[in-house]
């Protein structure tokens, strides 16, 4: 758990530092410094808004509007950094906590809330955002990502040299998930077929109450050594480093050089979910230590100190966040419940007579309650 070597480009104090292998070089129109500042401000804005989504959702759960919420608090840099490193044609497979990646992919936070409210299981069409649905069964999505990447290979969209066409896949998973058979099988398949997939492990130190040392006694990025592809640990609270490292791994995949494991070393500052009580299993000192490494504070310090953003700019952003919060509060309450009749129609593409019958019986039964008018 000590400060093992990782890739860091922005210190907790907000100072930019060099790394021999990685540099923050965003895709910008001109590539000049002004553009870079714009990108960093953008990343900052993303993180602030994503944190607002998180705190609003936590509050909505407290008010009974959501059944449950899995907080991302503390993981904004890992999610926004990696999410913004994706090209439009890339495809991401999340766990259930990637609200920040969903944001980067253009999914409306209200769509995300449908799941936690219990109005939907999925909330969006993956093809529309190149963003898979949340996966609750730990690790299952890593195999889906590997298979999807094998499909990309078969589509001839790897190593063409055309940046608009070459495609990579990223899959998120947690430190706990690294113990699942499926995740390790995904490593085997990805290596065996040299699939263009990036395994992005957010090691937030905890799997509910299990510390990450329960899952692995060595740093998790080294798991890749056992499967024959590179692993790298990045400061998961440093959005610039997360961006740079993910981008390099994606590029490697797009070029046909196969999988990479990226371990974003971060911290779950909140509870596992709104039903969890972390005081039962971890020390508050730990949280205090990590607060000093807050992913948002360090970018704010950098922007301020280097004069790339002023109080006005931050003020405007705060207002934007407030508006977003307002929209979420109102929008959440207005989310429609599913139509029970739909469930019979959505089991299969081709409806079965059995289900049609159950649907009819259901409708008739309910009509018998709503009275003679039916």
């Amino acid at each position: 758990m000590g400060p093992v070597d990782f890739v860091q480009l922005l210190t907790p104090e907000g100072e930019r530092v060099e790394h021999p292998d990685y540099a923050f070089t965003p895709d910008t129109a001109g590539g000049d410094g002004a553009d870079e500042a714009e990108v960093i401000r953008g990343l900052y804005r993303d993180m602030v808004l994503v944190r607002r989504i998180d705190t609003e959702s936590t509050a909505l759960q407290r008010h009974g509007e959501l059944g449950l919420w899995a907080q991302l608090l503390g993981q904004e840099a890992a999610q926004v950094g990696s999410g913004r490193a994706l090209a439009p044609q890339d495809f991401a497979f999340p766990t259930y906590r990637e609200h920040g990646v969903a944001w980067c992919r253009g999914v409306d936070p209200l769509q995300v809330l449908t799941l936690w409210r219990g109005s939907a299981h999925a909330g969006w069409d993956p093809a529309e955002y190149n963003f898979g649905n949340y996966t609750v069964v730990i690790g299952a999505q890593t195999l889906h990502a590997t298979g999807y990447a094998m499909g990309v290979q078969r589509d001839g969209l790897v190593g063409t040299g055309d940046p608009e066409r070459d495609t990579a896949v990223v899959t998120y998973f947690g430190d706990g998930a690294s113990s699942q058979g499926d995740v390790n099988e995904a490593f085997v398949f990805a290596a065996s077929y040299n699939a263009p997939v990036v395994f992005l492990c957010q090691n937030n130190q905890w799997a509910i109450s299990a510390g990450s040392e329960r899952q692995s006694r060595i740093p998790l990025y080294q798991r890749a050594n056992g499967f024959g592809f590179p692993g790298v640990r990045v400061d998961g609270n440093d959005v610039l480093a997360c961006y740079a490292v993910t981008k390099a791994a994606l590029q490697r995949a797009r070029e046909g050089n196969g999988p990479t494991l990226v371990e974003a070393y971060t911290y779950r500052m909140g509870a596992h979910t709104t039903t969890d009580d972390p005081t039962r299993y971890r020390m508050s000192e730990e949280l205090e230590r990590w607060k000093l490494k807050d992913p948002i504070a360090r970018v704010r310090a950098y922007l301020t100190r280097s004069g790339l953003a002023d109080a006005d700019w931050f003020g405007v952003l705060d207002e934007e966040a407030d508006d977003l919060g307002h929209r979420l509060r109102e929008g959440c309450k207005a989310l429609a419940d599913p139509d029970p009749l739909d469930i019979f129609d959505q089991v299969y593409v081709e409806q079965t007579a059995e289900l049609a019958e159950q649907r009819d019986a259901f409708a008739a039964y309910h009509a018998s309650f709503t009275g003679a008018g039916a």
Partner: protein, 328 residues
């Protein structure tokens, strides 16, 4: 006698089993420090140590597979699967190993293992947290499958399951964990209690037989009460054991009533109701005034929780099925 919730009763039962036999171990995700996400194992790691209450890595096949090895070494592992929908990664170890090892070795190796699974819906949860997979295990020879419906049974049955030399899948109706309290006799002798693999008439009646288990028992008792108010006498039977099935009391009842409904949260198609229907139809052929009817959930995946109440069989749906048996 102490009044307690099902969660507390199970906790007390586990504690007593651990006190009585040092070979009893608890294993699973978050069962130690946290005491399990439902707090069923609360306080046990503190009192019995990490060697006997193991917080496992996050891998269900690993939990069950290592439990097999521990059982071979003479331990009696009690494994917790965090939620019903997460038992499937361990399915292979359960059906191909746990269920078969005694048979495979002609009895040389025993598998005195308990796999605890919180199951069923009605708690407003996200996907995979509200399933009722019991029929799949009951279909598998070599496993025994039981489920409790109240704190008193929970306290005794978990201890009986741990004492069993055969592997037992122990389904716990999660939506009842922290609901109604009931009297539990913590001094109860296990041998004096009803044997584990037996069903029980929980409310006598004469017009129709209502068979249920786990979370549906409460619903069915309420249904019987409502029906009584309208002059219809429903006998309610709690199956308790899903494999083996103890249908003696059901047959006896059906011979008197001539009518029977089986209720469960699991999908109707190939659910426990199908087997009860097949056996009762055969054994009570001449007594039945109506076919065995089933009140299960629909044959669709579990829906988003905002409409789960529409999906789960409730008091009205059970009574509707009862009414239908009178239409024959």
């Amino acid at each position: 006698m102490t009044k307690m919730t099902l969660a507390k009763a199970l906790n007390a039962g586990l504690r007593r089993a651990m006190e009585d036999d040092p070979k009893v171990l608890l294993m699973g995700e978050d069962v130690g420090k946290l005491g399990g996400v439902f707090r069923i194992t609360e306080g046990l790691q503190k009192d019995f140590g990490e060697d006997r209450v193991l917080d496992s890595p996050l891998a269900e096949s690993g939990i069950i597979g290592t439990a097999v090895g521990l059982a071979m070494r003479g331990y009696r592992p009690v494994c917790e699967i965090q939620f019903d929908g997460f038992v499937y990664p361990a399915y292979d170890q359960i059906v191909s190993q746990v269920a078969k090892i005694h048979f495979r070795t002609r009895g040389a190796v025993r598998m005195p293992m308990v796999i605890r699974i919180p199951y069923g819906g009605g708690i407003g949860a996200v996907e995979h947290h509200s399933e009722s997979p019991e029929a799949q295990f009951a279909h598998t020879p070599g496993l025994k499958v039981v489920t409790c419906s109240n704190p008193a049974d929970g306290y005794v049955m978990i201890q009986q399951a741990i004492a069993s030399d055969d592997p037992v899948i122990f389904f716990e109706p999660k939506r009842q964990y922290h609901s109604d309290k009931a009297e539990v006799d913590e001094g109860a002798e296990l041998t004096a209690a009803a044997p584990l693999f037996t069903s029980k008439v929980v409310r006598p009646g004469s017009d129709v037989t209502l068979v249920a288990y786990g979370p549906m028992v409460k619903t069915c008792l309420k249904a019987a009460e409502a029906a009584a108010a309208e002059g219809r006498s429903i006998e309610v039977i709690d199956l308790r054991s899903l494999s083996p099935l103890d249908l003696g009391p059901v047959e006896e009842s059906v011979r008197r009533t001539g009518r029977i409904v089986v209720a469960h949260e699991a999908h109707t198609n190939l659910g426990m109701g199908a087997e009860v229907a097949a056996r009762i139809s055969e054994r009570c052929f001449y007594s039945l005034e109506a076919p065995v009817l089933r009140a299960g959930s629909y044959d669709t995946p579990y829906p988003p929780s905002r409409i789960e109440e529409d999906y789960l069989p409730d008091l009205d749906r059970v009574l509707d099925a009862v009414d239908r048996t009178f239409e024959f």
